[in-house]
């Protein structure tokens, strides 16, 4: 895990004590995966930036209460992924009630060019999954958590996590296969 271990604990303690450089080290260690995870769940660069930024701001607000003996990553990633799920669900809802049409018609530049760089078939297939399934896939294969850890982070039964992983993988493989056949 990125940032895990002694360095990370030292950065957390330093940041809690007011060391801006330790806080910066913590940020730089965790930003890439936090942003990538958010991006792969929401498939919108601007929204991913908002999600990751809000997660880090939440981390700042809660920094003094954070137990520095515990790893920082899972705590941050839990916020990122849950907020990303909320955002993706809200966007899906907006589409259902029609507002999404306007978003879909807006120039790519205005809405953060959501899927333009997702040329990889796997990622395109990931976009076809529900936000909840995407989140589980991202937690497992991007952030490398075990199903048990994912079940605790998302407050889901372990069986639900396993089934979402299985169904997500099946859907991904099916989608990739379909695209390969076309």
């Amino acid at each position: 895990m990125v940032g895990a271990g002694r360095d990370e604990r030292a950065w957390v303690r330093g940041a809690q004590a007011g060391s801006a450089s330790d806080f910066e080290a913590l940020f730089r260690a965790h930003w890439p995966r936090a942003y990538r995870a958010a991006y792969l769940v929401v498939h919108d660069a601007a929204a991913a930036e908002d999600v990751a930024q809000e997660a880090f701001l939440a981390a700042v607000r809660a920094l003094d209460r954070f137990d520095s003996r515990r790893p920082f990553g899972p705590w941050l990633h839990r916020i990122v992924v849950n907020r990303a799920i909320d955002w993706a669900r809200a966007r899906a809802l907006r589409r259902e009630v029609g507002a999404g049409d306007a978003i879909a018609e807006a120039p790519a530049e205005e809405r953060g060019d959501p899927t333009a760089p997702l040329s990889d078939d796997v990622v395109a297939a990931l976009a076809s999954l529900s936000p909840d399934h995407r989140a589980v896939i991202v937690l497992r294969y991007v952030l490398e958590y075990t199903p048990g850890e994912i079940s605790r982070m998302l407050e889901l039964p372990r069986g639900t996590v396993n089934s979402r992983l299985r169904r997500g993988l099946d859907a991904l493989q099916g989608a990739v296969r379909t695209e390969e056949e076309q």
Binding site: G18, Y35, Y39, F56
Partner: protein, 389 residues
């Protein structure tokens, strides 16, 4: 596809704008971190004071703009340039920005490209931003967005504060000394509308096809008149000196920013509505309605703390050292732009709340290229609709 292939594929996805996003986020997060009140605050406060003092000395020595800092909850006086956009590379929302610097008015397009319209003093957009009305000494002129003049009116006295009526834009109001005049949108029919007017810009009711204008007189009274019929619809004594007039986008409320701690709002029929109250130690520097709402955003400078607050409705959005002289909403109301002279920065605040801040640095040079950076900070005049074809 194996799980290993999947992991590899997901980790290999090029993520759009990753470094820029990281830079922007770090600017905001770092500012929030600087603002927090850690448990051990007492222990590190001396270090902060020393750091600020040293930084201030460095700033003075380097002759760089003071208070170059970013973020929403700012106490970090000397944030580095790497935290801010080095230039206005694009607007975060649709529309065009009208900025007036010592060089004259500039149009900033969504892609960040800029055009200087000419050596004019004041400017405002026509209703659909197809033209800009400008002043130059004794001239009122309408110019196209490439700077080509369309018409001009010459007056004996100095002119100021030109404002174009809402769509279809058949009238332009402006001040000549202490008089208020109106000219047709094609430059004809210039005539006197009122005398003894206060030196603040008039404000057209934003209702299509109407030519209702609000202005203040030198006694502090606000008048709302039908400009074409030269008929006064109502007037009200504000009890203080008006400094700015602004209508809500639905035309139902008129805000009168005054030099006191009470800034009254009037209904369209002239009956008093609520007031915006500010502490006695604060001077309101700019104010406007949030588009599509009746919430007022304002910036206020507190003479005791030497800080400015940006407030929207009841929510404090931003606090900075120094002044926030101008505010401008994006046409969609999703961004609030604030000009911060002490830091030489523009702050684009993503609403609601402050979900994100985009900071643009070196603003003086941006709008006064080739200068030493000592010129006046440009004024943010408006952020208007995209141009019509």
């Amino acid at each position: 596809m194996s799980e290993r292939d999947l992991r590899s594929a997901l980790l290999g996805v090029p993520v759009l704008d990753e470094l820029e996003a990281q830079r922007r986020t770090w600017a905001v997060v770092r500012a929030a971190y600087a603002e927090r009140e850690p448990v051990s605050r007492r222990a590190w406060r001396p270090r902060l004071v020393i750091a600020v003092a040293v930084a201030a000395a460095l700033v003075a020595a380097a002759l760089s703009p003071p208070g170059r800092s970013v973020g929403g909850w700012i106490r970090d006086r000397v944030a580095g340039k790497e935290l801010a956009e080095p230039a206005l590379v694009r607007l975060p929302a649709a529309g065009q920005l009208l900025v007036v610097s010592e060089r004259g008015p500039w149009i900033v397009r969504p892609d960040g490209s800029k055009r200087l319209l000419g050596d004019y003093e004041d400017a405002s957009f026509s209703p659909r931003a197809k033209f800009v009305v400008v002043t130059d000494g004794h001239l009122v002129m309408a110019v196209e967005l490439d700077g080509d003049p369309r018409w001009q009116v010459a007056r004996p006295g100095p002119v100021a504060d030109p404002r174009w009526a809402p769509s279809p834009g058949f009238r332009v109001a402006y001040r000549e000394g202490d008089t208020l005049r109106v000219v047709a949108g094609n430059g004809t029919g210039d005539r006197l509308l009122a005398r003894d007017v206060a030196p603040i810009a008039p404000a057209w009711l934003p209702e299509e096809g109407r030519t209702v204008l609000a202005y203040a007189d030198t006694t502090g009274r606000v008048h709302v008149v039908e400009a074409d019929g030269e008929k006064e619809l109502w007037s009200a004594r504000t009890g203080a000196s008006p400094e700015k007039l602004a209508w809500s986008s639905d035309g139902r409320l008129l805000l009168v920013v005054t030099n006191s701690d009470r800034h009254p709002l009037y209904r369209a029929n002239g009956r008093p509505a609520r007031s915006v109250r500010t502490p006695a130690s604060q001077d309101v520097l700019d104010a406007d309605f949030e588009p599509g709402t009746r919430d007022v955003a304002y910036s206020a400078f507190d003479s005791a703390s030497r800080r400015s607050l940006v407030v929207l409705g009841d929510e404090r959005l931003q606090a900075v050292e120094g002044h926030i002289d101008d505010l401008a909403f994006s046409p969609d109301g999703r961004w609030l732009l604030a000009g911060w002279p002490e830091a030489d920065q523009l702050l684009f605040l993503r609403l609601p709340g402050v979900r994100r801040i985009v900071v643009v640095d070196d603003v003086r040079r941006e709008f006064d290229p080739g200068s030493t950076g000592a010129s006046a900070f440009p004024r943010l005049v408006g952020w208007c609709c995209p141009p019509t074809p």
